[in-house]
Each structure stands twice: as structure tokens, then as C-alpha cells.
């Protein structure tokens, strides 16, 4: 679905993504793991067409990204930034309905159908009660849910999420990890999400891509990640593995 070939991006002198090549297949839940500053966010931005690679290229559905027009690409993809925000006060439902923006004509307004889609997406993210509330009156986790709903309102084929689980409480972390799996299974979309929570990533993902210093350090099956040796090597994380209900979980060493 999406091919990244030798893509490189630097902020001034600091190289964030160095010559990364990967293939993202159809209908998959893919976790991007790696330490802070390892290049996860920048790789997601490259995929979302938010930044253009300084060398190398990307192609989506067999067509180079630079040949896609901006609206057309936005209709097929959805991107959740790490810290979504709004510079002027807006209600949740008004935020979510902007997920339909790439489908509007130049002078078009959202129809009742668009609002129905938005309300459904918000319900999926357990945020129906937030619909009329203003973003600046919400907690960080609630805001994340609103913006995740906004991504889903556009029914994208490729969903790119920058730390969707950060700032969520433990119950919502659990619920959303499952939700991402359900989205993939139900809509046949591909979700690529950055996450620091290795246990949840391994529990539901099909594939884990580990980044280190702007490059792909490992491309693993979830079961391979649940290995103290692997996580020490790639994350410097001292952990032991325990088996619960027939599958391994990482427990930090104290």
C-alpha cells in the first residue's frame, strides 16, 4: 500500500530519518516503537505527506506521493499529530467534522451526513458526551479521543497515529488498543501508530517496527518483541517476561 524508499529528512543539521526503506502492506496494525527522538514522528509525518523527504521517495497505491494532489491524498489517509491543538476555542463535534474536510467542494459546507459520520466516529472513541464541550475545557486524554475520532470520520484507508495511547488513562489505553485492532479488522484499513507501550503494541499488532537514531533497527513479529534480550538491546529497558494466559508480558525489573 505504502512504500518508503531511502527516505531521508533532517531538521537543519539534525537528521531525524536517515535513508529509511519499508513496505507497509494492506490491512495491518503496525506499531512503531523506539526511544524518544528515534524518528518515529518524522517517519509518520513523511507518510502523512506533512513533510517531504529531502532525498528518497514514498509511493502510495503505486503512485509517488508527489504525484498525488493534496486533497486526494487527504481523502485516503488520516493523521493524528502527537499534540493536537486548536488556536481558537472549538467544540468537539466541530473538530471531528473537519475530518470530512477533504471531501468538501471549494464552497461547500458540511451536510447532515457529515455530522452523522462525525457523531458516529466520536461515539466509537467513547466521546459522545464530549460533543458540545470546548477543547480547552478537556483533559489531554479526552482531547486525544476527539482528534482520533476526527481521523476516523474520514474513513481513511491508511491511518497514521502519533502516540494515540499517550495521555490516555489505563482503561482507555486498554480500550483503544483493542479499538485500533477492531478498526483494522472491520474497515480493512492499515493503521501505523507510534507507541511506547510495548505490551499493548505486542498484544494486538501484526508487526512491530523498531526505530533507533532515525533508522529501522528491527522489524519484528509481536511475539519476538516480548523478549528481555531484544528490549534491552533496542530500548535499554531491563525487563523480565512472564506468561499470562498463554502469552508473554514484559515486566520492568526493579
Amino acid at each position: 500500500m505504502l512504500t518508503v524508499s531511502r527516505a531521508r529528512f533532517a531538521y537543519g543539521q539534525r537528521v531525524a530519518v536517515r535513508d529509511v526503506s519499508i513496505e507497509i502492506g494492506e490491512t495491518a496494525l503496525i506499531a512503531l516503537a523506539g526511544a524518544n527522538g528515534s524518528g518515529k514522528s518524522t517517519l509518520l509525518k513523511l507518510m502523512a505527506r506533512v513533510v517531504t523527504p529531502q532525498s528518497g521517495s514514498l509511493s502510495f497505491l503505486g503512485r509517488p506521493l508527489r504525484d498525488w494532489n493534496a486533497k486526494g491524498y487527504a481523502q485516503q489517509t488520516g493523521y493524528l499529530p502527537q499534540e493536537p491543538e486548536s488556536s481558537f476555542p472549538m467544540t468537539a463535534i466541530d473538530v471531528v467534522v473537519t475530518g470530512r474536510a477533504p471531501f468538501l467542494t471549494r464552497f461547500g459546507f458540511e451536510t447532515e451526513d457529515d455530522y452523522r459520520e462525525a457523531a458516529a466516529a466520536l461515539a466509537l472513541c467513547d466521546g459522545s458526551h464530549l460533543a458540545g464541550r470546548y477543547l480547552d475545557e478537556m483533559s489531554g486524554g479526552e482531547r486525544k479521543r476527539v482528534f482520533l475520532a476526527r481521523v476516523l470520520a474520514g474513513h481513511p484507508k491508511l491511518i497514521l497515529l502519533d502516540e494515540p495511547l499517550a495521555a490516555l488513562d489505563i482503561a482507555h489505553t486498554q480500550q483503544f488498543s483493542k479499538l485500533l485492532r477492531e478498526i483494522v479488522d472491520r474497515t480493512r484499513a492499515t493503521v501505523v501508530f507510534a507507541s511506547h507501550d510495548l505490551n499493548w503494541a505486542a498484544a494486538y499488532s501484526d508487526r512491530i517496527i523498531v526505530m533507533d537514531d532515525g533508522a529501522i533497527a528491527a522489524d519484528l513479529q509481536p511475539s519476538q518483541l516480548m523478549n528481555p534480550e531484544i528490549v534491552r538491546r533496542h530500548f535499554g529497558f531491563e525487563a523480565g517476561a512472564v506468561e499470562v494466559n498463554g502469552r508473554p508480558w514484559l515486566i520492568p525489573k526493579t
Binding site: R49, V50, D94, T98, F107
Partner: protein, 324 residues
Amino acid sequence: MTREAAGFGASLVLVLLLVISFLIAISYGATSVSLRAAIGGDVTARAILFGIRIPRVATAALVGAILAVAGLTFQTLLRNPLADPFILGVSGGAAAGAAVATALGWARITGVVPVVAFAGALIATAAVFLLARRGSHTDPTRLLLSGLVLNAFFSAVILMAFALSRQSDLTAALRWMMGTLFGVSWFDVTLLAVLLLASMIALATMANDLRLLVFGEEDARSRGVEVERIKLAGFVIASVVTGAAVAVSGIIGFVGLLVPHLIRLIWRRDFRFLLPLCALGGAILLVLSDTLSRVIVTSAELPIGAFTALLGVPFFLSLLRRNS
């Protein structure tokens, strides 16, 4: 549909208010003129009404609409509620141009000051935009900072120019600096009307993209917005119309800041609704300010720019307090 209906309703209310303000504005002035007499064929009444008062009030409405629309556009582009043509140095550039023209004695030639002021506004815009540019990217914070710094520079130019100006030229220059609609003509009305209409059409074609900038430039890009293109276009449009408005009316501050915020307070909606509402709101505010400036003291004309600033400064300060 209810949202559009409500937006339409709000526009209708403002249109009605604008018509009422307009009628009040042309009914009062230094000389009392009866509308009925003018319609009945009174030559003096006609001359005052159609030759002086109506073009003046129409100019007030157009300048108000332009400044409010420009303010809204700058606030949207820079994602900063405090942005307006004043703070970005556009007005300052125009004022510096006019001051230099005065110092050189060009102000005595009719029509030179507006042209030089307009040039000053465009030069200021280009300078601010170039200063804020890093590679192919324009950083909103740097834009605002560049505007502030250039304003300080323009203030210095204005002071120097005034020190070198002839005493007799200074009175007119000072009046212009304070903002005045004295002596505007049907030509000014036509020019501003064409510019306002063109800019609003252009902004309307970008409205669906501009409103998405509220979520940040990267986010907007992921929604299919060609950010750098609309930023450049919006900035040029807002600066050109501001330059023209300032050239005609002199420096009238705070309309661009005040009106979008007032409209947002009553009507928290996105750019597509704010665009027509701000134009109407700006027109109403300036028509009323101009009427007050003519009516409160009959022996002299109080500067209209001082009127809007007197209203704007307390508002601006309370806004700053709330934002911090």
C-alpha cells in the same frame, strides 16, 4: 442546515444594523441636512448629501470592512489572536511612507501621499514576510516578531521625517496619522469597493482551507491544505487591501483586532462564517465611530483613529489578561 441558517440570520441582523447606522450617519453632521429636502430637489442639501456625506460614510463602511477582514485573515494565517495590520507593520509602513512624503514636501501635491503610503504598506509587507522566511517555510512567530521590530523602525522614520518637515505641512500629516475620512471622494469609494469585493471573493475561495489552519500547519497539510500557497496568497491579499484602506483613511487602529474578536465572542464559528460577519461588523463600527467623531464636538472633527483606539485599547488589554 441549522448552522448555515443561523449564520445567515446573523448576517441579516448585521446588514440591518449597517443600514440603520448608515442612515443615522448621513442624517447627522456639522450642517443639518434634511433627507426629504435632498430628495425633493434642494440643491444645497443634495450637494452636501451626495457630494460629501454619502461618499464619506460609504468610505467609513468600506475601510471598516477591509480592516476587519484583513485582521481576521492575519489572525487566521498566523494562528494568533493578537495579530492585526497594525502589529504586523503594514499600517506602520504606510505611515512611514506618508511621513517621508511630507518631509520631502510632496504632500502638497494632491494624490501623492496615498500612493506613497500604499507603496510603504507593500514594502513593509514584503520586508516582514522575507524576514520571517526560513527556506521555504514562514514561521508565524517570526512573522509577528518581524512586524514588531519593523514597527519600531517605522516609528523612528516617522519621528525623523516629522522633525525635518515644514510646520505648514505637519498639520495635514498629523491629521492623516490620526486617521481621517475628511475630503474623501466617490473615486475612493469605487476603489475600495472593488478591492473589498475582489478580496472577499478570493478569500472565500480559500475559506475551506483557511479555517483548517486553526489546527496548526502540519495538521492542515495532512487534511489536504496547500499551506504555503494559501499563506502567501492570504498575506498578499490582506496587505494590499490594508494598504489601500490606509492610503485613503490614514491610520485607523484596532478595527482589525477588535471586530474579529467581538464577532467570535458572540459567534464562535469558523472562517467561512466569520468572513462576511467581520466585514459587516467592521463597517458598522467605523460608520458609528465616524459619526461620533463628527457629532460630539461640532466645532472640530475628532480623529476617528483615536475613537477606535479608545474603544480598542481596554478591550485589547482585557484580552491579554484573559489569555495569560
